[in-house]
Symmetry: C2
Subunit: 225 residues, 2 copies
Amino acid sequence: MSGSAIMRPRIVEVRERVLKQNDLLARELRQRFQEAGVRVVSMVSSPGAGKTMLLEKTLTILSREYRVSALVGDLATENDALRLQRSGAPVKQITTGTTCHLDASMISAALIDWNLKGLGILFIENVGNLVCPSSYDLGEDLRAVLMSTTEGKDKPLKYPSIFNSADIAVITKLDLAAAADFDRQTAAANILTVRPGMRIVELSAKRGDGMDDWISCVIGARGVA
Amino acid sequence: MSGSAIMRPRIVEVRERVLKQNDLLARELRQRFQEAGVRVVSMVSSPGAGKTMLLEKTLTILSREYRVSALVGDLATENDALRLQRSGAPVKQITTGTTCHLDASMISAALIDWNLKGLGILFIENVGNLVCPSSYDLGEDLRAVLMSTTEGKDKPLKYPSIFNSADIAVITKLDLAAAADFDRQTAAANILTVRPGMRIVELSAKRGDGMDDWISCVIGARGVA
């Protein structure tokens, strides 16, 4: 791997500088969120695992009792923000161009004209990517990694860093489990191999089963202001 | 975006150096493949879009008439290689650690103990990622971007660069189209918006429909030695 031996150290060095700067900014953000009483929940997954559908249902359910808001990341299009704004919650799109993940500076910039005190529970939907977002702290209280029943059971073994960086695992599209021959036991065992003791929530945002369990994770043990 | 304004130029500069080096190496690879009469087909998609299942069926079908071989990329595990080796074809796993894509140097290193002349049609299965692999030429003749019917119809609009870097689009898991309420017309229209005239193949590797169309793309107009 001669080419890569020459190239990699320099990239790694720059990446570490960027990550260090991101960590500092994320720490600042986390403090601002805490002071404003905002609970921040981020969602990461492959493209198409159902983040936006789950968020749409979640905003609708929670907005009956809580203030909710969302930042949604995509390389391109405002589709997700438009879709989520139907819930009535304040929603802003972050388009990243060619950048494959959100970082703390993007979150900070997107919040610039929002009053943190009014955000209640703030959701951050990352760019669909099961690799790169794992390294970037966004100042969130809870990071959920989603995998759908149609993605197969071995994703945790193949993408361990994202499962290691997340707090809970959410298995989505339970309604497609039978059609996709989803092996529930093995999927759970694979998650627990990578991350022993990880809390696993199974749900179908479409049908509604499992949503209570998810909502209780979102709200958290300490509740929300 | 003050943090990002400070950080990005340096990262971009390094990334461009890496890409330039990758392009040189990919060009070398492409020439070696041509001289050895190897046709190279790469596959990119989200995690779980069905690359390995499609590759498994493809190796089985093609090995009746052609020599076939495969390199499969993942962050971790040898699962895919073990699964594909059942076809009898020479298969090698490339594990990338935390790197979110394959690059030309990884391909070159993986080929080091293989005689190119014997490879026939060489498949390269990239790491599951709809963003980063788009920038890395691997010396392939044909790059196929896969999206499954369960991922929803808007992926081409949200991940335009990968559709722009690919030669054909493959819609997988047709068997789940009805259960997932897949909107076929809009999906095709979205692909063609991003990439006018792009060839679209629809298939179910599980059921077998659409495989002929895919196989004819793989073999290519000029045939294989």
